[in-house]
């Protein structure tokens, strides 16, 4: 079989120009945590538009269960920052109804695990109403909160809903990684007249990322549905989103030491999915690995692989594409088991090595 890519010789091409986190172009950048970036975005949009309000459990007086809404209640008061009882289906329904009625709610789920209680209002009330009403009733609402596995919180509190929500037409689904992503995409999500599911990550909240002056400005907005090339490379495309981007970047750093240059694509949005960005990259690298924390079956990686199969990108591949995902098990509590359930950088490097080394059949049969 004639390969489209030049074969990689492992270990021989160690690069000197290893990079760490690729976040912002600007040199004069300032570290800002994801939590603060979100807070800034919500604050700026609330200031700009009187119709924007925040509703959820502990968002006001407690300052947010994860402190994302810190200070907003003090600044905007009871009218616009509203603590709800612990009744997800009720307050999600009320938030959607408020959007029907002309407001622009930000509905916080303390974690997305609890959004399952309210999923009917996200899917049936928010996502479908604009279509069902023949375009009469827009539903501008943001459902946001931490998604996916945190640490040591067990099966019911460690689930990724990326695949679940991105399955549904009518929704936009965002899964940001860096502070810049969170700020720019949150502002875009609040401004768009469609329902958005905004999937954050508890572990990322406290991570500082450099933010440029441009990203810190109140005018900074990122487009929903556009991926970002976090790291350029020519040997293999690694597609990821949210916290999995960190895993992929760490793996890419390590692989760079062995002369393998990964092109890391941070999807930023799961719906719309920027497949063009993936296709462009695969046309260059001819190899593909996807990385996500969610379960494998019917997951984001599965969707990407299907789209590759169905398009001319298939012919660009020199080897089968592989998915790196959360293991197909409910999340265990014990830390030694938990660590085996989520993708680590070494899982990504192993997958990359197998795909690049045409060792798929050997590795898969082990």
């Amino acid at each position: 079989m004639a390969l489209k890519s030049s074969p990689v010789v492992f270990g021989l091409l160690a690069r000197l120009s290893r990079r760490s986190f690729s976040t912002s172009k600007a040199l004069a950048s300032k570290p800002v945590t994801v939590r603060d970036a979100l807070n800034q975005a919500i604050d700026e949009e609330m200031e700009k538009d009187e119709r924007v309000f925040v509703m959820g459990e502990e968002v006001a007086q407690y300052d947010g269960a994860y402190k994302v809404t810190r200070g907003l209640w003090k600044k905007y008061g009871d009218k616009r920052v509203i603590d709800t009882p612990i009744t997800e289906i009720g307050f999600a329904g009320i938030a959607v109804g408020a959007a029907f009625g002309g407001l622009r709610p930000i509905c916080e789920f303390m974690t997305f695990n609890f959004s399952m209680q309210a999923i009917d209002h996200i899917i049936n009330s928010a996502a479908k109403t604009y279509y069902m009403s023949g375009g009469q009733i827009p539903v501008p609402i943001v459902f946001r909160g931490p998604n996916g596995a945190a640490s040591g919180v067990g099966a019911q509190h460690s689930q990724c809903f990326g695949a679940w929500y991105s399955h549904c037409p009518g929704l936009k689904v965002v899964m940001p990684f860096s502070s810049e992503d969170h700020k720019g995409l949150m502002k875009a999500s609040i401004r768009v007249n469609d329902p958005v599911v905004f999937l954050e990550d508890e572990i990322l909240y406290g991570i500082p990322f450099p933010m440029s002056d441009e990203a810190l400005s109140p005018d900074f907005v990122l487009p929903i549905g556009k991926a970002k090339v976090e790291r350029e490379g020519k040997h293999i495309t690694v597609v990821c989103a949210g916290r999995a981007t960190d895993t992929a970047l760490q793996a890419a750093n390590e692989l760079a030491g062995n002369g393998i240059e990964c092109e890391v694509i941070n999807l930023r949005s799961l719906r719309p999915l920027d497949f063009d960005a993936i296709a462009r990259s695969v046309a260059k690298t001819h190899h593909l690995v996807t990385v996500e924390q969610g379960w494998p079956q019917s997951g984001i990686g599965a969707e990407i692989c299907a789209r590759v199969m169905e398009s001319s990108t298939f012919f660009e591949l020199d080897a089968p594409a592989w998915r790196v995902t959360g293991a197909d098990v409910p999340m265990p509590y014990a830390s030694s088991l938990e660590v085996l359930a989520l993708p680590r950088p070494k899982d990504v490097t192993a997958a990359v090595a197998a795909v690049l080394g045409n060792k798929i059949s050997e590795a898969a049969s082990q």
Binding site: T87, G90, A98, L103, H121, M132, S133, P140, K172
Partner: protein, 401 residues
Amino acid sequence: MSKLIPSAAKFFNGNTIAKAAAPAVTTSTAKYSTKSEAKFEVKPYKLHKLTKGPATSATLTAEDALKIYAQLAILRRIETASGNLYKEKIIRGFCHLYSGQEAVAVGMRQAMRDVDAVITAYRCHGWTYLMGVSVLGVLSELTGRRTGCSRGKGGSMHLYGRNFYGGNGIVGAQVPLGAGVAFAQKYRADGGVTFALYGDGAANQGQLFEAYNMAKLWDLPCVFVCENNGYGMGTSVDRSSASTEYYSRGDYVPGIWVDGMDVLATREATRFAIDYCSSGKGPLLMEMETYRYSGHSMSDPGTSYRTRDEVQEVRQTRDPITSFKEKILSNELATPDQLKEIDAKVRTEVDEATKQAKTEPEVGPEELCGDIYYTNLEHEIRGIYPAAPLRHVEVTARSYK
């Protein structure tokens, strides 16, 4: 010209004609009737955590009598037409008829102001008409045609209009949504009240109690209206509900039981509810006791869980249209000729709309992807297989500000 049916007097139990208020000269809009208004007593309300309820004596003008009669008649006629269209297999899928319950919607609508909003469940054809959608808009949505109020893309359970948020096919989901619309009204301080309607079946849904709680906590101007027609699908209230006193099931939310077969009772109760909720006292619950003549939906003959005699008896003794007709005739607010004229007009209007609802085309295939998103960001919409991609189109003008 105006002849009172001599036997009409026997139907008017306990109603008193407001003799003093009946001037000899009639108004121009009521030129065929002899009285310009009359007073009626309604069945006593039952109150929950209220010291004062709605007025038990209702004044009805001749002008309103004719309007109400016309609305009752057209709602009944729309459902008859819907039932026939369903049997002709022109209406597909689900179809839930409102016949028997008309006095609830018509009476409420009479009391509502322009600023008030409504959300209901899937038994929504009549409400859609009352909220300003034409008969054609309703019927051709049911037949799935382009003139339908949702362009034929919603179907019988998904009708919408100005200040009318559906039409909802998920039992109980409309109730927190309605509380949310009320939340927006309070937030904007526009003085409006939202009516969130649900059946005795939905009354047991957990999300209702969540909505009651938040509506009360935040004093939302929301009226929760339980239309108790006796059966949630085929399960009678006694078999579904540990307490069938639906007006009291909001606990801390004050409630009123209303005779839902009497359009004047529902109107007076709604007036009271609007006063109550728009004065900042928070939500209110109204139970409207009513009855549905048809089965739950068209696939249900409605006879396995109740007897034909029961349905017959309600039709004969409590029908909201017959009883109202008798009331206004015996009180000389309208003449048989006037009502016949209305009946004829209603028949023509609904017949014409029915005919058009059958002959209008459906929207074109390009509208399969019409208005999925207000702002579409998808490159293309995936079709059934990769070689058949679709394109999103903006059909309805984007007017959100």
